[in-house]
Amino acid sequence: MTRIPILQMGDCLLVTIQVDLQDRAAVSLQDDLANKIESSGARSVLIDISALEIVDSFIGRMLAGISGIARVLDAATVVVGMQPAVAITLVELGLSLHGVRTALNVERGMRLLRLAGEERALDPDA
């Protein structure tokens, strides 16, 4: 089974999924990211799925799971680069990825994470 590498850039973790994921690899990624957020103190996670040719309910659930786990660990997540055909299919399948922040591409995703970080810095209750 291929493990998905997690790169760190400052306080951001970067994941690029470039292979057709087996279910177990998706579950490992969820676990690996949770551990990495904890050990690195990362405040944000960017997941690039532009190379993914499908997102089925299992992978969708994994993306929602990662977002939820990261939020509980005080990190913001953004999923970027979904292909239009994948987006159409996902919505028809019945998955709306509630609670998962998305952006069109890496650049916009990074901007979104930066804004989230600034908001957090301005909020005295955060």
């Binding site: 309910s57 159409i88 299919t89």
Partner: protein, 130 residues
């Protein structure tokens, strides 16, 4: 390409997806239609593996009038589905999933048929026309 793909381990689901991609491309499905068919196949292949305890995917190129289509059969010899109408409800799941496998894949194809006998197994047939 073999006519039958075994669904015994998780990696077989990936193999099925890739086979369906090749078949859909061969029929000149649009990119969205390829994605719909592969996604439906992925859901049903996983159901066969997880809920049916393994099984097989069979494929056939079918003709209706002037249109060609891709038909896929997912068959297992697992415990079967006692209430098919319930299993086809969005959000209903007997396992740990989201309950979108059957209902969702039905929305992604043109023809959808399911036969299930409790204690004998389940066969789901889907067709998408090019």
């Amino acid at each position: 390409m073999p006519d039958v793909f075994e669904l015994r381990v998780e990696a077989d689901v990936v193999t099925c997806r890739q086979a369906v991609r090749g078949l859909a491309q061969g029929l000149r499905f649009s990119l969205v239609d390829q994605t719909r068919m592969i996604t439906a196949a992925s859901e049903l292949a996983r159901n066969t593996l997880v809920y049916g305890g393994g099984g097989q995917m069979r494929w056939a190129i079918v003709q209706r009038d002037t249109r060609s289509g891709l038909r896929l059969d997912f068959e297992d010899h697992g415990q079967g589905i006692p209430d098919i109408a319930l299993a086809l409800t969005d959000g209903w799941t007997s396992g740990g999933g989201m309950g979108l496998g059957l209902s969702g894949s039905k929305r992604l194809v043109h023809d959808f048929a399911i036969r299930s006998v409790v204690g004998e197994g389940t066969c789901v047939t889907i067709t998408r026309w090019a």
